[in-house]
C-alpha cells in the first residue's frame, strides 16, 4: 500500500477525529445551518470513507440483505430523517449522549450504508432516492421558512430562515445538476446494473 493509499484509507477516522475536536465541533455547531448542512454531511462522509474497513465477510452477509441496495438506502434515509429534525440537532448541543449518538449514528447508519448500497443500486433505485432527496430538500426548506416559532432553543429564528433558504438552494442545485446530467451528460446505466448483480 502506498503512502497515499494509507492516507486515503485513514481519511474517515481522521476526519471524524477532526470533527470531534472541541473547537471544530463548537464552530460547526454555532449555527443551525452549519450543523445541518456542513457537520452532519461531513460525518456522513466519514461513514462513506469507513467502507474499506468492512471485512469482506461482513460485506457478503450485508449484500444478501441488501438487494439492489434498497435496504441500505432505506436505512440511510431513516437515519437522515432523524438528524434533519430541529429537535435532535438542538438536543445534540444540550445532551452529551445525543451528541455521541450523532457522532456514531451518522457515520455508521447513514454514510456507511450509503457507501455499501450506492454501487449496488440500479438506475431506478438511484433515481427514486435522488428525486426523494431533492424533494426533501425543498420540503424541509419550506418548513424551516414557514415555521412560525423558533424550533430550537439554541438557535435563533434568523438562523432557521437561513437554513431554510440554503435548503431551497440545495434542492434547486440538485434538480439542475440531475437535469443537466440526464440531458447532456454520460450516465452509465449498465454499469450500476452490472454491479448490482455482482
Amino acid at each position: 500500500m502506498t503512502r497515499l493509499q494509507t492516507v486515503v484509507r485513514w481519511a474517515g477516522p481522521i476526519l471524524w477525529l477532526t470533527l470531534a475536536l472541541p473547537p471544530v465541533r463548537h464552530a460547526l455547531e454555532s449555527t443551525l445551518t452549519l450543523q445541518m448542512l456542513v457537520q452532519i454531511p461531513l460525518l456522513a462522509l466519514v461513514g462513506w470513507w469507513l467502507r474499506p474497513f468492512l471485512p469482506d465477510r461482513a460485506v457478503k452477509v450485508l449484500n444478501a440483505w441488501n438487494r439492489g441496495g434498497i435496504s441500505g438506502l432505506l436505512l440511510a434515509s431513516f437515519a437522515a430523517m432523524i438528524w434533519m429534525l430541529p429537535r435532535t440537532m438542538d438536543s445534540a448541543l444540550n445532551v452529551p449522549w445525543v451528541e455521541l449518538a450523532k457522532f456514531t449514528s451518522v457515520p455508521v447508519l447513514l454514510g456507511l450504508p450509503l457507501a455499501v448500497s450506492w454501487p449496488r443500486a440500479g438506475f431506478v433505485v438511484r433515481g427514486v432516492f435522488l428525486v426523494e432527496a431533492t424533494a426533501t430538500a425543498f420540503r424541509l426548506g419550506w418548513l424551516y421558512l414557514v415555521s412560525p416559532q423558533r424550533l430550537c432553543s439554541n438557535y435563533l429564528l434568523g438562523d432557521q430562515q437561513l437554513a431554510g433558504n440554503a435548503l431551497l438552494a440545495i434542492g434547486a442545485a440538485m434538480s439542475l445538476l440531475l437535469a443537466w446530467k440526464l440531458m447532456w451528460g454520460h450516465v452509465d446505466v449498465d454499469g450500476s446494473h452490472r454491479r448490482s448483480h455482482a
Binding site: V124, V128, R139, W142, S147, P148, L182, M183, H186, V189
Partner: protein, 499 residues
C-alpha cells in the same frame, strides 16, 4: 421509421406482457364508463333533470376529476409502453408496479371520497382540504393525498425504467430528443418518434411529479401540524405545475399511437424531420413553464409569471400540434386509406386535439381569461381534446390490438354505429360546455340558475350518447382483448390488411 407492417412481430404480446397490457386496458375502459356515468349524473343535476345534494355533487366532481385524469394517465402509459418497448429495453416489473401502485392509490381516493366524503376536488387546492366545514375531515383529505402519492411513485418508477432504457440506447435524454440534429447533420431516419415523445414526457412529468411530491407532503404536514401554515399561492403554483404537466403528458403519450399506427393504415411512410424534432424540443421546454396560465386571475401572482403563462401558452401547444396535424394530413393525403375503426379513431383524435386546443389557447390569453376564467368554457376545451383527442388515440391502439388477434382491422357493423354515436355525442356535449362558457356560466357549480339550464340539457343529451357509445366500446374492447390470438396472427403486411 415506424413500421409499415400492420402487426409486426416485435409488437406481439405474449405471457406476462399480455396479461399486464390487458389489465391496464380492461381496467381503464371500465373506469372510463364508471367515471362518465358520474359525469352524466353531474350534468343532469345541473340541468335539473336529477336531484343530487350539493355535498354529494362535489364528491362526484372530485371522483370524476381525479378518476378521469388518473385513468387517462394509466391508459396512455400503456400506449407509451406498448410502442417504446420495441426500441428500448423496458422491464415488465416497472410497468406492473405502476399498475399496482395506481390501483392502491385509487382505492385510497375512492375511500376518501365515498367513505370520508372528501369534496375538495382533484386539485386539492390549499386550504380547502383542511376546511371541510363539517362535510369531511382533514384525515379524509390526508387519505386522498396519500392516494396521489402512491400513484405518483408508480409513475416515477415507470418513467425511471423508461429513462434507463432510453439512455442505454441513446446515451442521454438530449440525444434521444434528437437535439444533435436541430441545427444540421443528417437525421437518422430510423430514430423512433416514440422515443422522442417518450423522452419529452419523462422529462416534463418527472419534474411535475417532483413538484407534486413536495406540495403533497407539505399539505400533509399542514394537516397534522396545523401551526405550519402554507403560502396558498405557492401551493397553488406547485399544484398546477404538477397537475398541468400530468394531464398534458397524456396527450404526448397518446400521440405515439398516431405516429406509429397512422402510416400502417395509410400505407405511406411517415418520416422524421427537423421541424418535428424542433417542435418536440420546444414543447419540452415550454410545457415546463406554461402552467401560470391557470393563475392568470390570481391578483397576488407576480405579473411576469402571468405574462410567461400567456406567451408560452401560444408557444407550447402549437409546435407539436401543428407539426403532428400537418404530418398526419400529409400522410393521409392521396393515401387510399381504408376506413376501419383504428384509422377512424386516429383521424378523429387529430381533429379532437386540433379543434380542442384552439379554445384552450384562447383561454390562455389574459384578455380572454378575464371573461372566460372559471366558466364552463374551461371544461369545454379540455373535454374536447381529452374525449375526442386523447381517448380516441388510446382507443385506436386498443382496436388495433384486438385487430391483431384476428389479423384484420376491426370494422363490424356495431363499430360503424358506435363511432358516429361517440363523435356526435362528444361534439354536442363539448359544444354545450363551450356555449355555456360563452354565456359566462360558471364551472364547478352544483346548482345552476334556470337561465343556464338550456346548455346543461343539450350537454346531457350529448353525454348520454357518449356514455352509450363508450359502454359499447368497453365491452367490445374487453371481449376482443381477452380472446385468444388466432394462429399466425402477427406479421400481416399493410397490403394484406387493406386487401
Amino acid at each position: 421509421m415506424a413500421s409499415l407492417t400492420m402487426y409486426p412481430d416485435d409488437e406481439r404480446l405474449a405471457g406476462g406482457e399480455r396479461i399486464a397490457f390487458n389489465l391496464y386496458i380492461v381496467t381503464a375502459v371500465a373506469l372510463f364508463v364508471l367515471m362518465m356515468l358520474l359525469g352524466l349524473t353531474m350534468r343532469m343535476t345541473q340541468a335539473k333533470w336529477l336531484t343530487v345534494q350539493s355535498p354529494l355533487f362535489y364528491q362526484l366532481l372530485s371522483m370524476h376529476g381525479a378518476g378521469m385524469v388518473g385513468t387517462m394517465a394509466l391508459v396512455t402509459t400503456a400506449v407509451m409502453w406498448f410502442f417504446l418497448r420495441k426500441y428500448v429495453q423496458l422491464h415488465l416489473w416497472a410497468f406492473v408496479a405502476n399498475y399496482v401502485l395506481f390501483m392502491l392509490g385509487a382505492l385510497c381516493i375512492i375511500a376518501s371520497i365515498f367513505v370520508g366524503r372528501y369534496g375538495a376536488l382533484w386539485t386539492f387546492l390549499y386550504p380547502l382540504p383542511v376546511r371541510g366545514f363539517g362535510l369531511w375531515t382533514s384525515n379524509t383529505s390526508a387519505l386522498f393525498m396519500v392516494g396521489y402519492l402512491l400513484i405518483g411513485v408508480g409513475s416515477l418508477l415507470f418513467y425511471l425504467d423508461a429513462a434507463a432504457g432510453i439512455i442505454k440506447v441513446h446515451g442521454n435524454l438530449g440525444r434521444a430528443l434528437g437535439l444533435q440534429w436541430l441545427f444540421g447533420g443528417k437525421i437518422d431516419p430510423d430514430h423512433p418518434k416514440a422515443v422522442v415523445a417518450s423522452t419529452q414526457v419523462i422529462i416534463s412529468n418527472s419534474l411535475g411529479i417532483l413538484a407534486g411530491a413536495v406540495v403533497l407532503v407539505m399539505s400533509l404536514v399542514n394537516i397534522f401540524f396545523p401551526t405550519v401554515v402554507l403560502n396558498a399561492l405557492l401551493a397553488k403554483n406547485l399544484i398546477y405545475w404538477f397537475g398541468h404537466q400530468y394531464i398534458n403528458a397524456t396527450i404526448y403519450m397518446g400521440v405515439i399511437a398516431v405516429y406509429e399506427l397512422l402510416p400502417r393504415y395509410t400505407g405511406k411512410p411517415y418520416p422524421i424531420s427537423r421541424p418535428f424534432l424542433w417542435s418536440w424540443a420546444a414543447s419540452t421546454l415550454f410545457v415546463i413553464v406554461v402552467y401560470p396560465h391557470h393563475l392568470l386571475m390570481d391578483f397576488a401572482q407576480p405579473r411576469w409569471l402571468a405574462v410567461i403563462g400567456q406567451m408560452v401558452s401560444w408557444g407550447a401547444g402549437f409546435p407539436v400540434f401543428l407539426v403532428t396535424v400537418f404530418g398526419a394530413l400529409t400522410n393521409l393525403h392521396r393515401s387510399g386509406i381504408r376506413w376501419t375503426m383504428p384509422s377512424r379513431l386516429l383521424i378523429l383524435s387529430m381533429f379532437g386535439w386540433a379543434a380542442g386546443i384552439v379554445p384552450a389557447i384562447l383561454d390562455g390569453t389574459i384578455r380572454n381569461n378575464l371573461v372566460m376564467h372559471n366558466t364552463q368554457w374551461v371544461p369545454g376545451h379540455f373535454h374536447f381534446y381529452l374525449l375526442l383527442g386523447v381517448l380516441a388515440m388510446a382507443m385506436a391502439l386498443m382496436y388495433h390490438v384486438i385487430g391483431s388477434r384476428v389479423s384484420a382491422p376491426p370494422n363490424s357493423s356495431a363499430d360503424k354505429l358506435g363511432f358516429p354515436l361517440y363523435l356526435a355525442g362528444g361534439l354536442i356535449f363539448t359544444y354545450a360546455f363551450l356555449d355555456a362558457g360563452r354565456l359566462s356560466v360558471p364551472r364547478r357549480m352544483a346548482e345552476h340558475l334556470d337561465s343556464w339550464t338550456f346548455t346543461d340539457k343539450v350537454g346531457s343529451i350529448g353525454a348520454i350518447l357518449v356514455v352509450l357509445a363508450m359502454l359499447y366500446f368497453a365491452i367490445r374492447i374487453s371481449a376482443g382483448l381477452l380472446k385468444q390470438p388466432s394462429a399466425g396472427a402477427a406479421g400481416v403486411s399493410t397490403a394484406d390488411a387493406a386487401g
